[in-house]
Amino acid sequence: MAERTFRDGVRAMAPLVVAVLGFAISFGVLARAAGFGWLAPIVMSATTFAGSAQFAAVSVLGDGGTVAAAVAAALLLNLRYGPIGISVAPWLTGSAWSRFLHAQLVVDESWAIAAEGEGRFNRRVLFGAGLVLYVAWVAGTAVGAVLGQALGDPATLGLDAAFAALFLGLLVPLARDRLHVVAALLGAGIALALTPFTPAGVPIIAASAACLLGLRR
């Protein structure tokens, strides 16, 4: 088999572009509804480039949580990019600057597409797939953030339920074994138990303690 190239990365990503655009448009609309205005969601997509963390930050702040709680929720979700970055690190040859740029284009989807089995990764495929994702993510966010203005009251539209629906959509593919399901249920339980007693956002951060179940392996 010939070695895969930048083009293969672009091509592998193409069928997912519509889904990414839809995800990005929902982010723009919901961020706008949560009081982020139109510019901040676009800047966030261009700099953070990690969907679930962006949704978490917007959802915590929109619920009246503090800056610290919103930041903590987002960065805890992004901690998984630590091990993911380490897994691709040996395959990112080139200058420190090039490795840095490639690292920024690593998200769940581009990482999966660049995988070549037995822990090997193709950096050209990663770059192609990551770049397509990045453009779709930022463009979709812009469309959503601008469209969001035309929409009416978020509660009337049921947009408050959209956040829960979206997080459920992100959780289901992760819940592949019993431990992951138990961690999700424990996280939900901790959050609900604390909601009446702590400021908004704190229950979410406290729920991250459920990840300590991972020590049992």
Partner: protein, 102 residues
């Protein structure tokens, strides 16, 4: 600076640092497996919490309202393998319609 921009700035910088840490600084040394196992469970734990609070949280109180209907519809849509945007739109529509009707 407003809270929104503060969150955008700190999350942006923090994420760039986390993503760059492995490839730029560590250069390919593996994580201890126990630590990797803990980090792997962060996302499901946080998603579980976010779903619970977004469905039942009402300020500092818990409430069962029209949102549960939207989440149930989302669950069915996910089960039927609908794309995420369809899941989100259906959930919002179900909740919005339930609010308008009841």
């Amino acid at each position: 600076m407003t809270d929104v921009w503060l969150v955008v700035a700190i999350v942006g910088v923090g994420t760039v640092v986390i993503k760059a840490a492995g490839p730029v600084l560590l250069g390919g040394r593996p994580l201890p497996p126990r630590l990797a196992g803990v980090i792997e469970l962060l996302a499901p734990a946080l998603f579980g919490a976010l779903i619970a609070v977004q469905t039942f949280g009402d300020g500092r109180a818990l409430a069962v309202d029209e949102r549960i209907l939207g989440v149930a519809v989302a669950g069915i849509a996910i089960w039927r393998k609908a794309p995420l945007i369809v899941v989100v739109v259906l959930a919002a529509a179900a909740t919005g319609i339930a609010r308008a009707v009841f």
